[in-house]
Amino acid sequence: MSGIFLGMPVHAPRGVGALRGAEPFPVAARTALANTQLRRNLGHATATIRAKRAAVVSELDDWEELRRAGEAIKTATMTRLDEHLEQLERAFTARGGTVHWARDANEANEVVTRLVQATGEREVVKVKSMATQEIGLNEALEAVGIAAYETDLAELIVQLGHDTPSHILVPAIHRNRSEIREIFLREMAGVDPMLTDEPRMLAMAARAHLRRKFLSAKVGISGANFAVAQTGTLVVLESEGNGRMCLTLPQTLITVMGIEKLVPTWTDLEVFLQLLPRSSTGERMNPYTSTWAGRHEGDGPRDVHLVLVDNGRTATLADEIGRQVLNCIKCSACMNVCPVYERTGGHAYGSVYPGPIGAVLSPQLTGIEDNASLPYASTLCGACFDACPVRIDIPSVLVHLRAKHVEQQREDHRLPSAEALSMAAASWVMSTSTRFSAAEKASRIGRLLGARRGRITMLPPPFSGWSASRDVPLPPRESFREWWAGRGGATS
């Protein structure tokens, strides 16, 4: 890494990758909420994973200590991230691998495209990876005529369905098995037309389809769950074994990883190998853990690359409150417990990172102006914070990002918004009890709205969203403070 100051850290660029949605969250959510099949699929799936996670977490007496250890390791790592990254580069290079640095999605896509083109291959197989989805790698490869095949079963379903993932761990959580059967019958070459929607039959069909790809592909592309800086080791956790095929069979292996994913030592890794499977799939241990460092003669890929991607992470690291979001190990426990995610699903968030963690990560990677509705897509109920294995205080970061958004709006606009005006007015009214008391009396006019029915059923915008589904209580004839004064109660 260069020691020269390269200017302010940059956000993830526009026009590439999958961090920005076409619509603000409330609009996209409205569409999702109306989809009854989606509501049923999500409700069923999240409830199942929630129960599994709760069961395996309750087995451990020291779960809270593990969470605190995970938080402490990640926080300490981030304070010296530059040193750890250089250590990782040295160790990975010493073992025969090549490290590439990419400031953003475009640079990362260019590096990977160049590496694949150098092999002369037109096809690559992929291990499930969030980083490559974030930067839009498949689209970049497709643009130069290289086909990227997803090999994770759920990613395969998403890819064949010309769909986008809606969950970090279970990208096809919005699909049920009969929908998956239809996608396979429609899109999978040579599939048995008698295919049923029995899970085992669907898995067998996918296996036959993928096995051909594994045996022919010369280039594999992966992400990484962790990198151990000390030894230059990359780590992938998965459940199917398809990842291990991609990591070992091709001649060239290219790993794309966000710069925040490293841990200093193997001792640190031990903590996360306990936290991650229990939090994500609700398993005590994940079925396949693959680790590799550089190149090994006569065993596995001969050409091994690591692409380290920033894409807004350094900018996130610069925010004292927001930086804790980079501690995320992408387990998805927060979305499985989130009452908003459970009802809207992942697509409404517009980013490859959905749910509570997406609401605090995407706006920081892109700059808040491009994902301004996401920090408000939460009731601040706090279920995510309780579930997070590295104790990211998501509600506090949401509140912080809302403040940051409002502060930025204040700087950008000379004319304050209607909301800003009403908030300033409310602040003025509520700074003294005299004004507040006068406002209470004025609000009694509201009694006229509901005079006939004894309740208020319609409010003007922007409050019409409330009254569309909920009645409003009539303002009382007498406020509490008036009652208290009438009673002659003590006021000091």
């Binding site: 939460s378 009731t379 502060e407 909301e419 009890s433 059923t457 969203g465 009382p476 509490f480 003590a490």
Partner: protein
């Protein structure tokens, strides 16, 4: 004990019965209640909507009004959460370290009603009488910000005549979330629909909780549907006696 009541802006303006019930209950238990009448609002709505700059004068005002008191009670988990966990944060964001320290002091002396009763006053049976079928919704901020645990349920179990039924998926948010209910009205309503389904499944006559705001959401939905189930604040049930039934 001399207890200062922070009635909350919502309680003062829209739900005065909650404050009245809190007063009646504490006086019945032999305590003296003071209502510092310069009080207004904790500023939570401002903070949670991003307007921390506008919340700062409210935080300062709240600290000045309640600093003289040893024990403060509010019939709201959410507002106590704001006083305890957000006031110092707002002060610090504006570089006001001294105000932050004072806010932390007030926060440490401010209790949600069930905390005050069980932890400070050491009472679980408040001598209440309420002969109705009731289900209890633990509000998110009382549950996860204040960690009140089962204190409200312990108080309810000691109410004579009550038929207390467990609410399925009780710890799921009702969908209120302050301005969330307006900014994300559709999602808020979807969450409310599930909460109402669970409430109605209990066949309770009354749904209760420790926050008037969440009850405004649940009650607003039940009223719209003419569901035949009403909402009452925990304080109103605990204040209820054979002589004066809520």
């Amino acid at each position: 004990m001399r207890i200062a009541l922070f009635v909350t802006c919502l309680g003062d303006a829209l739900f005065p019965d909650v404050g009245k019930a809190t007063v009646m209950l504490l006086e019945r238990l032999g305590h003296e209640v003071v209502f510092p009448d310069r009080q207004t609002c904790c500023g939570q709505m401002h903070v949670n909507t991003g307007y921390q700059h506008e919340a700062l004068p409210l935080v300062r005002h709240h600290v000045e009004v309640f600093e003289p008191y040893d024990v403060v009670v509010a019939p709201s988990g959410s507002c106590v959460g704001s006083v305890r966990h957000q006031h110092a944060m707002v002060a610090r964001r504006h570089g006001e370290e001294r105000l932050a320290a004072r806010a932390e002091g007030v926060g440490a002396r401010t209790y949600e009603l069930s905390e005050l009763l069980v932890d400070v006053l050491g009472v679980e049976d408040v001598g209440a009488f309420f002969p109705h079928r009731v289900t209890y919704h633990p509000t998110c901020h009382s549950l996860r910000m204040l960690r009140v645990g089962d204190k409200p349920l312990r108080l309810l179990r000691n109410v004579r005549g009550i038929d207390l039924v467990e609410l399925p998926d009780a710890d799921q948010c009702c969908g209120f979330g302050g301005t969330f209910a307006v900014k994300n009205a559709d999602t808020s309503t979807a969450m409310l629909a599930d909460k109402m389904r669970n409430v109605l499944d209990t066949r309770a006559e009354v749904a209760t909780a420790g926050d008037a705001s969440c009850l405004m959401q649940i009650g607003g939905g039940l009223s719209r549907l003419r569901a035949g189930t009403r909402t009452l604040h925990l304080a109103e049930i605990l204040a209820s006696t054979e002589e004066v039934v809520a």
